[in-house]
């Protein structure tokens, strides 16, 4: 078990290293020079370049950058020149995290209920209804859902505020917009898993023991179906990350996503680079946690098999 975890951690580091290097390399390919827009004399520009170390040969820039990154220093924003990228990201993190986690929790709960009901009522009304709802939820992206929610629940009905982040109430619409996809994905997944488990021999054996339908579901089906649910963790993290880019725009939420979009618009390359790396770190962390969790809750991995 320990070896399993250690392998995963090492792998995570290697992957991150490569990703960061690649991202850095790509940033060098970005057209235009930073500071090109701003009205600067060539002297000032040269000074700025020197300050940011942009005049040095690439291998030097690379090593310096990597060294800094390892220490958590992602450089300074080109736009907000005195502010370190890391600082900006961390300042905005709580907001994005809150909305994202709320969306996942809400989505998980509703999704589980929907998916379980669909599986138990397989091929009957609730199953088809749930499947259609799930497909709807997966198909309508958050940047379509967001404005719709904003318009109907925010403007027309006035139930929720539609911008900024001054109270929990403000987080409802953004989280809701994000959660629809989560609901749909979780519902489809758990339904498929449950159907698969219900078709297994051991479920029939449980019935053959005389257990009631409810007991079979609670004691055998659910446990086996929920374990793989952990594997949805990483894809959902990606979804929340990318979804936040748009949702935060629409609802003017001061999160990381909003900052990223702004940095794209103003060509703040340091910020773009830094945020991309941050996203990757998040994702790889999510993968790592997912793998470890899976190893813990699946007895086939947790307890090594000892054949007779």
């Amino acid at each position: 078990m320990l070896r399993y975890v250690a392998k995963r951690v090492v792998y995570m580091f290697v992957a991150l290293l490569i990703i960061i290097s690649l991202t850095w390399f790509i940033s060098k390919l970005l057209p235009g020079t930073p500071f090109a827009d701003q009205k600067l004399t060539s002297e000032t520009r040269a000074q700025l370049y020197a300050k940011y170390g942009l005049d040095e040969p690439w291998p030097v820039q690379y090593s310096k950058y990597m060294l800094n990154v390892v220490q958590g220093d992602l450089g300074n924003s080109y736009y907000f020149q005195s502010k370190p990228v890391t600082e900006i990201i961390l300042a905005r993190l709580p907001v994005s995290a809150f909305i994202g986690i709320q969306a996942i929790v809400f989505g998980l709960i509703i999704g589980l209920v929907l998916g379980i009901v669909a599986a138990l009522r397989h091929n009957r009304f609730w199953d088809s209804a749930a499947t259609v709802l799930a497909i709807l939820g997966v198909s309508v992206p958050s940047f379509v859902l967001g404005p719709i929610l904003q318009y109907w629940l925010g403007v027309k009905l006035g139930w929720f505020p539609i911008a900024f982040f001054e109270s929990w109430w403000h987080s409802v619409l953004p989280s809701l917009a994000l959660s629809v996809f989560v609901i749909a994905t979780v519902a489809r997944f758990i339904r498929a898993e449950m159907l698969e488990v219900m078709g297994q021999d051991y479920t029939t054996l449980a019935k053959a023991k005389g257990l009631s339908g409810l007991a079979v579901v609670l004691k055998h089906v659910l446990r086996n179906a929920l374990i793989p649910l952990v594997t949805v963790l990483a894809p959902l993290t990606i979804y929340i990350i990318t979804g936040s880019l748009v949702v935060e725009q629409i609802f003017a939420v001061p999160g990381i996503g909003e900052e990223f979009v702004r940095s794209v618009v103003v060509s703040d390359y340091a910020m773009i680079l830094g945020t991309t790396i941050f996203f990757s770190v998040l994702f790889i962390l999510a993968l790592l946690i997912q793998d470890i969790l899976y190893g813990i809750i699946d007895p086939r991995i947790r307890v090594a098999g000892a054949k007779e």
Binding site: I19, T23, V140, P141, V144, Y151, V155, T242, V264, S280
Partner: protein, 309 residues
């Protein structure tokens, strides 16, 4: 049957010559894999509805603008922000351009990008996966690691970075999108490749001197066709979505050209006072996404019966 007992005649006890081909004949008519799948698909109403809607949208996207007297680019500032009416079926935008035209032109672009990117995705994915699976061993390991690294960055972020490096245009967007989501296809194809490589008919064929390419084309690819088609059907809405996403944050189709994503972005800006500018593109976009997903879902169920019942 009781009455017949008494009427049994000697000739009924004569030998009946039944060859083995007859015994095989008694087993029902063979239904091929594709026909079987088509039967299953037909029963899935959601999938059929999805397919129908897709076809209808495509037809209207190409014929719609022809029906209207206006053009998608013609500006007329005297009739800005006109509400939908019998004159302008979808209203006009801030430059007085007819929205009916713009929406359908935009749909064409989105569909075009969607299909193109999906095919690019397929081509790259299949090639990568096939090579990886066929060559196996070290090469396969390295190639798989490569995929895992690529997957470490959220795919839309990769698309964004790609768009920053290349400048926005239909082709570049297609490339950006197509290049970020091929990994899933590659995995599937590689999996199939590895599976089929081991099976006897592949070994037998090889031992008869067939070279690898022949093996690939004649045996391995047709066997993977099912998942490939399903994946393609799922990739198209994904590509359309990615394009819309990029356009929404300003990295996609630039004006005066338009796509569904660009229209969504523009429409959103006017949500407060001219919501119709958003609703029409939203409706078309959502219809497309839902239909593709419904159809792809149904297709997958039809081609892979293990899941259902």
């Amino acid at each position: 049957m009781e009455t017949r007992r008494d009427e049994l005649t000697a000739d009924q006890f004569e030998r009946l010559e039944v060859g083995t081909q007859d015994s095989e004949r008694i087993v029902g008519p063979p239904v091929g894999f594709w026909r079987d799948s088509w039967n299953r698909l037909k029963k899935n109403r959601g999938a059929l509805v999805g397919l129908a809607v897709i076809v209808v949208v495509i037809i209207v996207a190409y014929l719609g603008p022809l029906v209207s007297p206006y053009t998608p680019y013609g500006q007329d500032l005297s009739r800005r922000f006109a509400d939908p009416s019998s004159r302008f079926w979808f209203g006009t935008d801030e430059f007085g351009r007819d929205m009916w035209n713009r929406v359908w032109i935009g749909t064409r672009v989105s569909l075009y990008i969607g299909f193109l990117a999906a095919f690019l995705d397929l081509a790259v994915g299949v090639t990568y996966g096939a090579i990886s699976g066929l060559l196996g061993g070290r090469v396969d390991d390295v190639m798989q690691r490569g995929i895992e690294i690529l997957n470490g960055v959220p795919y839309l972020v990769v698309a964004i970075l790609a768009m920053l490096v290349l400048s926005p245009g239909i082709i570049t967007i297609t490339i950006a999108i197509g290049l970020t989501s091929w990994t899933y296809m590659a995995r599937i194809v590689r999996g199939r490749m590895l599976q089929l490589k081991e099976q006897e008919f592949a070994l037998a064929s090889l031992s008869l001197g067939a070279n690898r390419t022949r093996l690939l084309v004649k045996h391995l690819l047709p066997n993977s066709l099912g998942p490939m088609i399903v994946n393609l059907m799922f990739t198209i809405p994904l590509a359309i979505f990615s394009e819309a996403f990029l356009s929404f944050i300003g990295l996609g189709i630039q004006p005066p050209d338009t796509s569904l994503g660009a229209l969504l972005s523009e429409g959103y800006k006017e949500l407060r006072f001219h919501p119709y500018l958003l609703w029409f593109p939203t409706a078309v976009f959502s219809l497309l996404m839902i239909s593709f997903n419904l159809f792809a879902d149904g297709l997958r169920d039809a081609l892979d019966p293990k899941m259902r019942k």
